[in-house]
Amino acid sequence: MTGPQPPLLEAIAVGKDFGSVRAVGAVSIGIRAGEVVALAGENGSGKSTLARILAGSIRPDRGSLLVGGEPAQFTRPRSALDAGISLVTQEPSVVPALTVADNVMLHRIGRGARVVRRRNVEQQAERALALVGADIDPARPFESLAPGERELVELAKALASDPRVLILDEVTTRLPDPERLFEAIDRLCRTTEIGVVLITHRLREIRRLAHRAVVLRDGELVAELGRDDLSDERLSAAMVGRELSDLYAKPTVAVGEPVLEVVDLVTHRCGQPASFAVGRGEIVGVAGIAGCGRTELLEAIAGARRRSHGRVRVGGEPVSTRSPARAMAAGIGFVPDDRWSQALLADQSIVANLALASHRSWRRTDRRRDRDRAHVAIERLHIRASSIDAPVSSLSGGNAQKVVLARALALEPRVLLLSEPTRGVDIGAKAEIYQIIDELVARGIAVVISSSDLLELLGLCDRILAMHDGEVVGELSRALATEEAITVLCGGGHRAA
């Protein structure tokens, strides 16, 4: 990091805690002009927090930031923007009802009450769109854009404020065809003096784009790899920090008769019907890029999507998919995609959250029973909390996830549907969750796991279904499943039997 020019942006021993959780310990990183630095790490390794510190949307508890060699303190997102740092995240930051041009030039709206001339705005927007190679009419309303175009507009929007450093946080997860975006990033680095920070958990993207990679684990920088060292093996070894085989020590359970049968299930927006069965003690994985419909598939089986058709049977008995309550009563347990928005009452205690599923009657609640259950759950799933009355918001991601899991298990399901069971969970809790899943299948529960983490699916599952564009496009047995094979199938490459 000792070039003739100081780095565009440099962080020196920055760190951030959330409550008792150390998100980022003390990380130093510098970004120079014309380079793409990949920030790699598992979910929960602190890479998104670091990105937000660099972008000024989180103030670090420790350490300092230098912009062009000068100390900088970002008191608000605007001051980072003024310093030439622009962040693009997975969450859309656009106003859908405005035109493309208005969205691209959105940063100008905050700059005083100047008269806006539409022609001007559109010309400037067009320039930014050209930078990312997007041929989109700036006068179109943003809502009318196709998914792939939207991400390019978001990138153009970030570029329109003339940033010196561009931070891209998992921007490709929603993209059907990320290659266009990659070309745009490549071109930017060649033609401008911009520095790019690329945050991704996809090793392929790092190989494709990055000049070097910085690997984080548990909030600490554990490795810096140059371009020549960017092999999958080196990266994943650094990210995980131990042999993968330790993590997924699945004992072989004999697969029994089918417990869950799904026949011609059609979910809203996903055209093709899906049919499959899961046997006693079997773990079936569902792989696919975000937006491929695997989340919807699990939600439909769990009765959580209204407009879905098809038949679901548990133990041969038909199950209504009309409401979550009926699916639960039939023995289907469900752990949804996002624990904070879909599963937990953050303010409320562990007891209250665990009791949620038993509040379907109007009758008197049984406090003693609820509390006993909470004690049992804490013990069985090793949930670390100060007490069963602690609000779940005080728990770490892993422990909060175990509360969600415990609630699904409280109803003694015969089928367990897990959507992203270890997203944003530290490696220790991850191993514990895998162990719990192993114990469940040993007891004969049928498990379906939908995950964006291919290693997780490969390590846990007996079979993997690949989804693309709302359709199950292939099935791979444990013996045949490899990262490449799944990636090809999920990308819609070619079909396998």
Partner: protein
């Protein structure tokens, strides 16, 4: 024991603020106003605010699921006027009263409840609209005139009679409060209300019928507005199309003062009681001290904003950002 302490520490701050201010207010008033600390004065405070307490209990249910009901004042006026009409048509008082209260619950459930809870329209838009409809209809039916109803014995009894040595409105208000507390704290329905307000999606995926919950709270609020309206008609022995103007805002302010959050999921009826008491004691104190009652809304506004400001500051300190 430790669990109880933990719960006290996390749950109490919701309404200790308004409780503290209420306590200070009571101490100041009892030191400066000799009439303040008398049984008659206290009964008087409760009696004048019985209708507000009843409406505020209903509003607490609505606010707990993250809504607000702006139609309650208009609904109360309409209930009073329809009661007047029914009695004028010769329907006996008891069935007439039952009819208007049940009718209010049905109208509240169907109009506010279904449109907000099931069709998922904005509660502000829907209840602003229905409130306007209710009050407008009250004007149309009554010809804009306040209607005297002193000739009905039962209404006089409701307004000025006593049960167990307490004015009937006070007894009814406390019965409503007590039932509300039991429902919210000890019934499955109560937990469903908190769950739906705290995280609608999580509650739905946990198998709770969130539509039923969000429809029903508007029914409860309308039902209680009906009860409060009958009590008001009894106390004033008249029904007016301009009755109960703005009571929904005062009730909402009392609920928020009592620590229930505007986004739902957190709060309690004990807090609501403290909020209503604070407003009652404040008005009483101003009257006793000979200060213009016009100051009351000013003080209410200041205390409301100050209470929420303190809450916000505490949250900032807790999250450290």
């Amino acid at each position: 024991m430790r669990a109880t302490l933990e719960r006290a520490r996390t749950a109490a701050p919701n309404y200790v603020g308004v409780g503290g201010v209420l306590f200070v207010l009571c101490v100041v008033l009892s030191l400066t106003q000799p009439q303040f600390l008398t049984w008659t004065n206290f009964v008087n405070i409760f009696e004048t605010n019985a209708d507000l307490l009843i409406v505020a209990v209903g509003m607490t249910f609505v606010l707990l699921v993250g809504g607000f009901d702006l139609s309650l004042g208009g609904l109360m006026a309409l209930v009073g006027i329809i009661l007047w009409q029914l009695l004028k048509l010769g329907i006996p008082p008891v069935p007439a009263i039952v009819l208007v209260i049940v009718g209010a619950a049905v109208v509240g459930t169907i109009l506010n409840g279904v449109l907000v809870g099931k069709v998922r329209m904005s509660f502000l838009v829907v209840t602003l609209g229905t409130g306007s409809i209710f009050r407008g209809l009250a004007q149309v039916i009554s010809g804009g005139q306040s209607q005297s109803m002193y000739q009905y014995e039962l209404l006089l009894e409701i307004g000025s009679g006593e049960w167990f040595g307490l004015p009937i409105p006070v007894v009814v208000a406390f019965a409503v409060l007590l039932i509300g507390i039991v429902v919210l704290r000890y019934s499955g329905y109560g937990r469903m209300v908190y769950a739906t307000g705290g995280n609608r999606e999580a509650a739905r995926l946990a198998g709770i019928n969130v539509t039923m919950v969000s429809v029903s709270v508007f029914g409860i609020a309308a039902f209680l507005a009906g009860v409060a309206s009958v009590i008001d008609v009894g106390r004033l022995t008249s029904a007016s199309p301009t009755a109960a103007a703005g009571i929904e805002l005062t009730a909402g302010a009392a609920v928020l003062l009592g620590g229930t959050t505007f986004i739902g999921g957190r709060g309690s009826l004990l807090g609501t009681l403290l909020g209503v008491l604070f407003l009652g004691v404040l008005a009483n104190g101003l009257t006793l001290a000979g200060i213009s009652p016009f100051w009351q809304p000013v003080v209410l506004g200041v205390v409301l904003i100050a209470a929420l400001l303190v809450d916000r500051l505490r949250q900032w300190r807790a999250t450290g950002s």
